[in-house]
């Protein structure tokens, strides 16, 4: 069991969602945030950095949005469905755009292949919460 799942189990109230799906989505957000930060950094180190400008921006935006989404999903007290839905939609838009951008470099750069996989895995998790 992940710590995110443990924390949902110890929450003194109703988490208001399937706790397993929620814990998986939170973990996937954190994973994707880190992968995107690392992919931006790896792109920056490539000889072909000038061709990876859009990828670096997509990575940076997606990292920020995923980190915020993980935090919003982790807060169950005073839960607001409208805010949560809008954040999940922003996260899906960022993961879609970043995943597509990274996938277009996946044959050239292994870090982009792993990052595309991370974005797409998070996308599939978001539909479960």
């Amino acid at each position: 069991m992940t710590r995110a799942a443990q924390m949902l189990e110890t929450y003194p109230g109703d988490v208001g969602f399937d706790a397993k799906a929620l814990a998986d989505a939170i973990a996937a957000c954190l994973d994707c945030a880190q992968t995107c930060t690392a992919c931006a950094d790896a792109c920056l180190a490539e000889d072909a950095v000038a061709d990876l400008r859009s990828c670096i921006t997509h990575n940076a935006n997606c990292a920020d949005i995923c980190a915020t989404t993980a935090a919003v999903l982790s807060r169950r007290t005073g839960y607001d469905p409208d805010v949560t839905r809008a954040v999940l939609e922003a996260c899906a838009a960022a993961c879609k755009a970043c995943g597509d951008e990274c996938a277009s470099h996946a044959e050239m750069h292994e870090h982009c292949r792993v990052c595309a996989e991370s974005c797409r895995q998070l996308l599939s998790r978001l539909t479960d919460v």
Copy 2:
């Protein structure tokens, strides 16, 4: 001129928006992020903290979302309209919800009054970008 406006002026390309409106929106995001963090902290110090639980969560979510929005709006290279639009919508949802929650405590708590003002000012700026 704010530093956000100075930075947009020195950008080596087209910022793709009215630079003044964009600089004002970025500044309002930062302002709102800080005000929300400070309001959560002030609510936490109140005797009536138990009545301010939802307010604290709205503040924390709105702070995270505004900080992310400021960062996304600050990145002009490889600009993606879909990601930007989704982030602006999440920011508007957070400011609407947090502004309404804070406004409901504004007569009791001056920090909630100032925070509601900050959320609503940002909301009006977001429609300009």
Copy 3:
């Protein structure tokens, strides 16, 4: 293998550290950031929220610092040892303080027990990088 480890493997250069220790430290930072955000949220939902004010602030600070530390550790291009060292020290101070605070509530609140464990595990990982 975690995705943080995969990303370090695909980095086009020398990561400048033991990659396994670095990947473990990054993963522990993300884990601790999430656990702290969740612990602040669980504390906020407790009947005894007024007794948990300091804990909520420690959690919020530790979450922000751990998330920043994960990002700084993930960036290997243009690595700066002075900045990294200072960030690791801030992370250690936050984990020490938050771990001690949470440990003092661990018998009453299971979420504080899990959070103390997460802070202390990260502390032990930080000494490896």
Copy 4:
């Protein structure tokens, strides 16, 4: 009066510092975080992006650390001097390193000149809190 100053005025307790110096430091952190994010983005758009790799990483690290510092300084409830001191030291290290790096490109790139100024102004504010 900035909103950060207004929020400190409405805090239901003693903020434990000179409120004016604290509000100025918080505002300078936010300013520097945004300037650094914008400088990373402007560097990324330059033809000479390959020469600005270190600058982009310094900017990204400094932005994250300044945003975290603004949040930690904004939290007065359950204030912990050890955590605050360590965070201020990390912020000073980041601003020193980023300011020096940006200053070395200031004659070539106006955004780096403005960013160096922002880092150094924050450095001078940090010594007041």
